[in-house]
């Protein structure tokens, strides 16, 4: 059995502890350990992607307790892709952080590593309760990161975020508990098999449990009407933290795909596809609301935060359509939007630093010190996020629209996606012209410092990743097609997970005999 799968969880855990124990006093050492660990994580993620590239599903039984009794880590194409995305965003965010933002409070790098551990764990686990545990790991680290730097706004945003997510966790447990009570297993593959056999009143109970989970994932993904925490939270976090949070909403989307396509997908008997009728209208509304929020945004940060919401709407629309092509479009769009939005959050910080007192507010103010550099980066980023050719955003939306052509809901999807695309273009053009053209001359005194080169490098890296997705769209789409296909035809996944447990008699009763 290959141990590589456990590395994305174990490595950040050890790095985080090492930073806490060994490097409390030296920020330099913390930065070195943090950067080294994240760089190693990128390499490991590449190894894992190669391992999963041809569709192989690798199962790792923790403590050698085989599924469905023990907890397993499962690596398939979707997981490998998510881990690689996390690692890439993390390294860019960290390159930005070591230029200064990490010094504004204690333990930034330790929290960062624990956050990565939670993220990778959530993407790799094959067990529903274990997913809850990793959600909590990443959430508690994110609470710390959100509050990093202190200040009234962060504390105010922190209370909403923490309380809201704690209620979400309680709901998660209720959903998981209900599912366990009906089916008697929490292993996702086993669940997919057994959910199909449930019938009668039990099936109703199972569906209720599953839909409670949808509420939780909607909170994480910021799906309407549960996404109102996001603009305030992302708007008040430090820039590199906000960039890392660009991957946080994707955890909700990942979990939605995993649970409602794999477990409660087409083959789940009475509970088949139960989330999809809810998902499509909500996702389209989320897309509309996110775009309207972006148009109405009064500063660049909230503009970026609402663009995150809009991207969630786009992705979940694609997920809800439920075909191989649309799911593949969702996965492609997920990569694109994560990289670009993380880049935008970092860029907004750079712009805000050069605008004196106006910071990132959309009003007439002094010009930025480096209009060509920042304006160029801004243009590259917003053209991608608005979905204009030839960027990755265009490819993503094209894939989505093409996959919707044959479906009955095609009018709605075309209408909403194209209209919101235009509106978001209006929003970012307005913001860009306000910041870069509508300026008072001469520039705001006192002369602001130039952008530190490393910060620019971090942003350029993120935008380059998105560009690479557009340039190499062929191979990338081939990969996401494969991932989408195996999600909708989960036999390989289920077989791989349950293969080891065939030796154990299947008739071991749960619950001491009942029901």
């Amino acid at each position: 059995m290959s141990h590589w799968i456990a590395v994305p969880i174990v490595l950040p855990a050890f790095a985080g502890v090492a930073i806490l124990l060994g490097a409390r006093t030296s920020l330099r050492l913390q930065r070195a350990i943090g950067l080294a660990a994240t760089a190693a994580l990128v390499l490991v993620a590449v190894v894992l992607l190669r391992q999963a590239y041809d569709g192989t599903v690798t199962v790792y039984a923790l403590g050698a307790w085989s599924a469905p009794f023990g907890i397993v880590l499962v690596l398939d194409r979707l997981s490998a892709m998510m881990v690689l995305m996390t690692a890439l965003v993390a390294i860019c965010s960290q390159i930005y952080a070591v230029t200064g933002p990490d010094a504004r409070g204690a333990n930034y790098h330790a929290l960062f590593q624990f956050q990565l551990m939670g993220l990778c764990g959530a993407f790799l686990t094959g067990d529903l309760f274990n997913l809850f545990v990793f959600f909590e790991v990443l959430l508690i680290a994110s609470y710390g990161l959100l509050l990093h730097g202190g200040g009234r706004d962060r504390v105010r945003a922190g209370i909403h975020y923490v309380v809201f997510n704690l209620v979400g966790s309680a709901l998660f447990l209720i959903g998981v508990g209900t599912i366990y009570g009906v089916v008697g297993t929490l292993n996702m593959a086993d669940l997919a098999v057994k959910a199909a056999q449930v019938s009668g009143p039990e099936a109703t109970l199972l569906s209720s449990g599953a839909l409670i989970l949808l509420v939780v994932f909607a909170i994480k993904a910021a799906l309407l009407p549960l996404g109102f925490w996001l603009p305030l939270t992302y708007g008040s976090a430090t820039a590199p933290v906000a960039a890392l949070f660009a991957i946080m909403t994707k955890v909700g989307i990942y979990a939605t795909i995993r649970v409602y396509v794999l477990v409660f997908g087409a083959g789940a008997g009475q509970a088949a596809n139960l989330a999809m009728p809810w998902l499509l209208p909500l996702a389209l509304l989320t897309l509309i609301l996110g775009t309207l929020g972006a148009v109405a945004g009064r500063n660049l940060r909230s503009l970026a935060a609402y663009l995150v919401i809009a991207s969630v709407g786009t992705m979940l629309t694609a997920v809800a359509l439920g075909t191989v092509a649309s799911l593949s479009a969702a996965l492609y769009y997920m990569g694109h939007s994560t990289f670009v939005l993380a880049g935008i959050f970092l860029l907004v910080d750079l712009i805000a630093r050069q605008r004196g007192e106006a910071t990132d507010q959309l009003r007439r103010a002094g010009a930025v010190r480096q209009p060509a550099l920042l304006g160029g980066l801004f243009l590259a980023a917003v053209v991608a996020i608005a979905g204009l050719p030839p960027t990755s955003g265009f490819v993503g939306k094209l894939l989505l629209l093409r996959s919707a052509l044959e479906l009955p809901s095609v009018i709605w999807i075309f209408g909403v996606v194209l209209a919101t695309g235009f509106l978001s273009l209006v929003a970012v053009s307005r913001a860009g012209s306000m910041v870069f053209w509508n300026v008072e001359l001469p520039t705001a005194a006192p002369d602001p410092a130039r952008a530190k080169p490393l910060r620019v490098v971090a942003i350029v890296l993120l935008l380059a990743l998105a560009t690479a997705m557009a340039v190499f769209a062929g191979p990338v789409v081939e990969f996401t097609d494969g991932a989408a296909y195996s999600l909708l035809h989960p036999d390989d996944y289920i077989e791989a997970v349950l293969a080891e447990s065939n030796a154990i008699p299947a008739s071991v009763e749960h619950g001491g005999g009942a029901p």
């Binding site: 009234r152 504390v155 209370i159 923490v162 704690l166 009942a514």
Partner: protein, 112 residues
């Protein structure tokens, strides 16, 4: 026993939700705590309510309680404790930094 158990969970959830919807941080923390108790009971009950069963499997024992919900509850309790401690500290911090204990960080303009 089922009725008593279900009622207890229901009362805990109702009290928890009521407190959660208060606009002050301390009741909110208490509400979260009550809610997590209710959730813990709920998970526990999902292993079915039975009394007098052997906790450890030995030869000759055919009936034993489901150990998984117990393990789940233990995990949930630990996480719940940590989260409650954290949110309590956060609430205190907010009270000091913002000068009030309203969940929005500022007093509403009209009387409550």
């Amino acid at each position: 026993m089922e009725l008593l158990f279900a009622t207890a969970i229901g009362v805990l959830v109702a009290a928890g939700v009521y407190l959660l919807l208060r606009a002050r941080t301390f009741p909110v923390v208490l509400g979260l705590a009550l809610l997590s108790y209710a959730v813990n009971f709920f998970i526990f009950a999902m292993g079915r309510l039975r009394v007098g069963l052997a906790p450890i499997i030995r030869e000759g024992v055919t009936e034993y309680p489901d150990p998984i919900p117990q393990a789940l509850v233990l995990t949930a309790i630990v996480i719940g404790f940590a989260m409650t401690a954290f949110v309590l500290i956060l609430a205190l911090r907010a009270n000091f930094d913002l000068g009030n204990d309203h969940v929005d960080g500022r007093e509403p303009e009209v009387g409550e």
